[in-house]
């Protein structure tokens, strides 16, 4: 039986008056991509830094691949790779030089380091730019070389702290592809993100944390189920109808919301298909023109809101509660 790739029990860390970690428990099995999702200040980065042996928790236990991180940090560093929030690369060196330097620091021989650099450059699609100084790279290329640097040692657990922060959509998609390819090579990943769509696309498990504690964990599908019921979503032609639609939906389900810019109204409902028919009927009776009506599973945004009571930062425009 393999030990969990990551096991945290009751982790505590306090900075002055701020309780960054408040008894965090987390177990990640091998072969998984775990996304740590939470708002700013939830404790995501503190947790990653604890795993990376960059800070020492005040209490609790922490194991990576069965290694006690708190007692044997040097041993833990042999199996982890870290890509933090900044692209920590030497700008005055080429992509290849950066990779070879870190590969040698990981303990590879000169020749193995060269080979590892070639492999990672190919993996990150940077072969063509390998011999250019990093200071001439675009933001997306820097992120990829940064990710690549954490890979030259083929770590068992790769820690990615907000990997796509500050990237344009094209850059994010390229980075996501690169991350997905890693899982195949046997590298388990713990990534933090504020972006629900990122967690949804990359992770096999999502752990939602807030105020230094885990408040929910599961596969994306499980979390969506746990957040409960189906959503009925009505898209109206005329924004003036939104108030009327919203009051109709309020009687059918609970927790109605509207999003004025996209002219949509939503409501949560149990027994969604029956409620959908009812909604259609009432809207028709009142003569409201509906452009589109649909029954769908809640998005992770809605899950997050249901679990924490506050919206997550998303790439879409946030939905406003009725009356807000």
């Amino acid at each position: 039986m393999q030990p969990p790739i990551l096991e945290a029990r009751g982790l505590m860390k306090r900075y002055g008056k701020t309780q960054a970690l408040a008894g965090l428990d987390l177990v990640a099995e091998p072969g998984r991509v775990v996304a740590l999702l939470g708002p700013n200040g939830a404790g995501k980065t503190t947790f990653v830094r604890a795993v990376a042996t960059l800070l020492r928790p005040d209490a609790g236990t922490l194991h990576v691949d069965g290694i006690d991180v708190l007692r044997k940090p040097a041993k833990a560093r042999q199996v982890i790779g870290l890509a933090g929030q900044f692209a920590a690369v030497e700008e005055a060196m080429t992509g290849r030089e950066n990779l070879e330097m870190v590969a040698r620091l990981f303990g590879l021989s000169r020749k193995d380091a060269k080979d590892a650099a070639v492999r990672v450059l190919d993996q990150m699609q940077l072969t063509a730019d390998a011999n250019r100084l990093v200071r001439t790279y675009s933001g997306g290329m820097r992120r990829r070389i940064d990710l690549g640097i954490s890979l030259v040692g083929t770590p068992r657990l790769l820690l990615l702290d907000e990997p796509s922060a500050g990237l344009d959509p094209g850059g994010r998609i390229q980075l996501w592809d690169a991350i997905r390819d890693l899982v195949v090579t046997g590298t388990d990943i713990l990534l933090t993100t504020q972006y629900l769509d990122e967690a949804d696309r990359l992770a096999s498990d999502i752990v939602i944390i807030d105020h230094g504690k885990v408040i929910a964990a599961g596969t994306p599908a499980e979390l969506k189920t746990r957040a409960g019921d189906d959503m009925i979503e009505v898209h109206v032609h005329d924004a003036d109808d939104l108030a009327a639609v919203s009051s109709v939906l309020a009687k059918i389900g609970y927790d109605p919301r509207v999003d004025v810019p996209t002219r949509r109204a939503f409501v949560s409902a149990d027994n969604g298909s029956a409620r959908l028919m009812e909604a259609l009927r009432v809207l028709d009776q009142q003569g409201i023109t509906v452009e589109d009506i649909s029954l769908r599973r809640p998005t992770l945004d809605e899950v997050f809101l249901a679990l924490t009571g506050k919206p997550a930062q998303t790439t879409d425009s946030p939905e406003q509660p009725v009356g807000a």
């Binding site: 091998p30 960059l54 933090g84 692209a87 030089e97 590879l108 083929t154």
Partner: protein, 277 residues
């Protein structure tokens, strides 16, 4: 690990990275620093320009008003002090560099690697000391250009140069500490200014004898003065000696003791600060 692999053939496992040893790691960190310096023309030019400006100011603007108190000309008084204090100005750049690495996560990356953590600091200090040789060479060339003519022996001049390098290496650890605690490049720049009194309230540009009581006591006590006096005595021969109450061994010995003390204290602080988590 083999039995574990056999138990779960479906999960491919990555290898364990043993990590590089202390000297290999230090060397790799040092190579990075040297490359950064060699490939950043602004850094090279800045060292030279700053150096030249200082020298020109003292040589031509203030120099006329300063009496050395002996037969030694002001230019021959000034240039040894100027060269010796180059190590302090260069150190300020080191503090900013360390702070930048902290700020941009580079230090965190190195700290998360399976290498001895002290290698990061050792590599840095060795590289910065090597780069100091460049700064000292430029300072010496400028010194000659504005009229400095040494009157000591060649071995004396080489010993003076070596003393500057040793002193620079010791002071480097003060600047590493400043870089580590300041956290941002801007803060490091400002904290680095604490060395200004050490430079100006020393015998580097002005004879200590011309200073008023309290300032004079500070100047005579602090480490830069014996260091400057040693370099000046080694490069200017009898004329330089005439300004000094003690023999050459006194100043060389005192500056080496200071260098050792600074290295031990600040090296320890830097390592402790760096290992903390």
């Amino acid at each position: 690990m083999a039995d574990r692999l056999a138990l779960s053939p479906n999960v491919p496992r990555a290898a364990v990275n043993t990590g590089a040893r202390l000297w290999v790691s230090s060397f790799l960190v040092a190579v990075r620093m040297v490359r950064k310096f060699a490939r950043t023309p602004q850094l090279i030019a800045f060292t030279a320009i700053q150096s030249a400006l200082f020298l020109l100011m003292f040589r031509f603007a203030f120099g006329g008003a300063i009496r050395t108190g002996g037969s030694l000309s002001y230019i021959n008084f000034l240039v040894p002090g100027f060269i010796a204090t180059t190590v302090l100005w260069a150190g300020m750049g080191a503090a900013v560099g360390v702070a930048e690495d902290v700020e941009h996560g580079f230090i965190d990356r190195l700290r998360s690697l399976p290498i001895p953590r002290s290698a990061v600091l050792i590599g840095r200090s060795l590289a910065d000391t090597a780069l100091l040789v460049w700064g000292l060479a430029i300072a010496a060339v400028f010194g000659f250009a504005v009229g400095f003519r040494p009157h000591g022996s060649v071995s004396g001049a080489l010993a003076a140069f070596g003393l500057c390098v040793v002193f620079g290496f010791a002071f480097e650890w003060i600047f590493i500490v400043i870089g580590l605690v300041s956290g941002t490049a801007q803060a490091a720049q400002q904290m680095g200014l604490v060395i200004t009194p050490l430079v100006f309230l020393s015998s580097a540009y002005v004879p200590v004898a011309s200073m008023p009581g309290g300032v004079r006591q500070f100047s005579e006590f602090q480490p830069v003065t014996p260091m400057v006096d040693a370099v000046r005595r080694l490069t200017t021969g009898p004329q330089g000696q005439a300004l000094l109450p003690h023999s050459i061994g006194h100043y060389v010995g005192l500056s080496l003791v200071w260098a050792a003390a600074i290295f031990v204290v600040f090296g320890l602080v830097a390592v402790l600060r760096f290992a903390r988590r």
